[in-house]
């Protein structure tokens, strides 16, 4: 009797547990997208929708092979199924940028930021889109936001530096470089930016 009781408890626990796990992996049953369209389906059940890993890997493989249309579909599906999975937005926007579809890339990133407003990477990438479009005020706003959200990430500071230099705010640009790279490199970068932007910059005189 005790053995039977124990079996019931274990069976019930396993059942409940598996259902609990399934809530994070179960996808919509009536999704019109055929997973096989995106390549390998790693779902052992075969008739389930692809996992997030499968979708992401498929998208990446397609993108790496230059099959941008298929990659776009895979990323779109990834975003549709997992709107809070930020790499989907990041890489889809990169795909659009690669195809010089900057406005579409911006729309993807803004959609991602609606899902997760405090995502530093998306803010940084959106800043890059604005930088490409020479919208420096908007770019600086996004890079600044990214730098505040991920202060340990030097990339946003570096992008701030470039943007500030493009705006002619050379010593603010220099100040940002000084925070993230050695002094010699900071000065070297500033000379380069000065050449590129046409804004004059002189090395500060040591006291």
């Amino acid at each position: 009797m005790t053995k039977h009781w124990l079996s019931l408890i274990v069976a019930a626990t396993v059942s409940v547990g598996l259902n609990g796990c399934e809530t994070t992996t179960k996808f919509e049953q009536n999704d019109p997208t055929d997973p096989s369209h995106y390549g390998e389906n790693d779902d052992s059940l075969g008739n389930e929708a692809p996992t997030i890993r499968t979708l992401h890997s498929t998208a990446r493989i397609c993108a790496a092979r230059g099959q941008d249309s298929q990659a776009e579909l895979a990323y779109s599906e990834l975003i549709k199924r997992h709107p809070h999975y930020m790499p989907g937005y990041e890489e889809l926007s990169e795909l659009y940028l690669r195809n010089e579809m900057v406005e579409t890339a911006e729309a993807v990133l803004e959609a991602g930021l609606e899902a997760k407003p405090d995502d530093a990477v998306l803010h940084n990438n959106l800043g890059m889109c604005h930088l490409f479009e020479k919208e420096y005020d908007e770019a600086l706003e996004q890079f600044t936001e990214a730098a505040s959200l991920a202060p340990e990430d030097a990339r946003s500071r570096a992008n701030m530096a470039v943007t500030l230099a493009m705006m002619g705010r050379m010593d603010e640009a220099y100040a940002n470089y000084q925070l993230i790279i050695p002094e010699d490199d900071a000065r070297s970068n500033m000379h380069l930016l000065s050449d590129v932007t046409g804004y004059a910059w002189q090395e500060p005189v040591e006291e």
Binding site: T24, S57, S148, P151, E152, G168, D171, A200
Partner: protein
Amino acid sequence: MNPKSILSCSLVALLAGCWSPADPEVMPGRAGQWSGDVIRAAAINKAIVTQHVIYPYHFVVNTDELNPLGQRDLTVLADYYRKHPGALSVRRMGAAQALYDKRVAAVLDKLKASGVETERLTVADVAPGGDGISSERVVQILREPAVLTGGTTGAEGGGDSGSSSSGASAGMAPTMQ
């Protein structure tokens, strides 16, 4: 084996088997991105203290409101100034005098709210580390609120030395070639 042990074992095995694909920490793409964050943040914080300068980019455009990065960097400085009062630079860089005065006041308010004894702090408009050029003026913060005067010199953003007020800008005139 008693029933509790069996139950515990089954629960542990079950929970160990649970993996959430929605967890970004175990998903591809970002897993390695945040490694070393603490070290990098510490290095940047140290540089912020070494620099001890608040720039126009720390503020919302054309306002005296610190943006999130400004608040963040000033928090780093506040942590330092609580123990080591000294000099702080708030760069003007073409901002109107009235706006600059408000910015200085906003910075001091924030520092004071963070527990810094601002009476022991010197605020000036100078480049980090000094550049050998005398600053336009130095505001010595004493026990009374700073009384700042001056006219307007135009808006910020088009360059950092568009006005003569930025005498400490180390010759970084934004002249288009």
